[in-house]
């Protein structure tokens, strides 16, 4: 893995995870959707669009998306996409410390196994 590839993977991971955490915060603010009719889904999305965290999340995800676009122009998808799986550990940490989720031992074990899998994938 070259330095340029590592840098772009880092940008994709950090910006992507902060974007996802912002999106999660926005959706929790909107509240749980109960009925999955098209109208209800549109209303739900409309309520989501009025939450500022959603737009912060979209901004961060846009940064991650364009970095991914550039990265995929020279690197293979079967290397790039698994390499960004390190974001699961970053995301779990963010969920615990920024969103206040209770990440129990079992969930952490699952996340660690995913990370070991990612390390093997990137060898």
């Amino acid at each position: 893995m070259t330095g340029r590839t590592a840098l772009f993977i880092s940008i994709v991971v950090v910006a992507g995870q902060l974007g996802d955490l912002s999106l999660s915060l926005a959706m929790k603010t909107v509240g749980e959707i109960k009925r999955f009719t098209p109208l209800n889904i549109l209303r739900f999305l409309g309520r989501g669009l009025r939450v500022k965290w959603l737009w912060i999340g979209v901004g961060l995800m846009t940064v991650a998306f364009f970095s991914l676009l550039v990265l995929l122009s020279w690197a293979n998808v079967s290397m790039v996409v698994p390499a960004t799986a390190v974001s699961y550990a970053v995301g779990a940490l963010g969920a615990q410390f920024l969103l206040g989720e209770q990440v129990n031992r079992e969930r952490w074990i699952g996340v660690i196994i995913v990370c070991i899998g990612v390390a093997l994938v990137c060898v």
């Binding site: 998808v77 969920a95 079992e106 899998g117």
Partner: protein, 138 residues
């Protein structure tokens, strides 16, 4: 108990949508970008021309449409489920991406990468055993 089963059911359904849309979107994006060619210079003019070429590609637009559907599925499931549950559980998509990279794009996937992908599946299974929402069931 039945409420937990129902919540798991709808969480798994939306995760399946997320994984399918996300994986297909990523593979199409890769295919589209390979058609566009590598970004060789970082001056603004070259970068604008590069992204203009990208946005003239039907494959890129199809990939974007699938990634938008992925985003909508994520928004729906995150309205009740923990991010620390949804994020690792959606890792099952790596299996799909590795398979599609191998079968559709003709990429070489070595044995160690397959072992890694299998471990990711085990991790996802362990995470999937926890409750989707700790806020309701601490």
């Amino acid at each position: 108990m039945s409420e937990l089963k129902s919540q798991r059911g709808k969480t798994f359904t939306l995760l399946a949508f997320m994984v399918t849309f996300g994986s297909c979107g990523d593979v199409l994006l890769s295919q589209g970008m390979k058609q566009i060619g590598e970004l060789r210079s970082w001056d603004p003019e070259a970068a604008v021309a590069f992204f203009a070429r990208a946005f003239h590609s039907g494959t890129i637009w199809l990939a974007i449409a699938l990634l938008v559907l992925f985003l909508v599925s994520s928004m729906l499931v995150l309205s009740w489920a923990d991010f620390s549950y949804v994020s690792p559980a959606s890792a099952i998509g790596y299996v799909l991406v590795a398979l599609m990279g191998y079968f559709f794009l003709g990429e070489h996937v070595p044995t160690t990468r397959w072992i890694g992908v299998s471990l990711i599946c085990v991790g996802v299974f362990v995470v999937g055993g926890t409750h989707p929402s700790t806020k309701q069931n601490p």
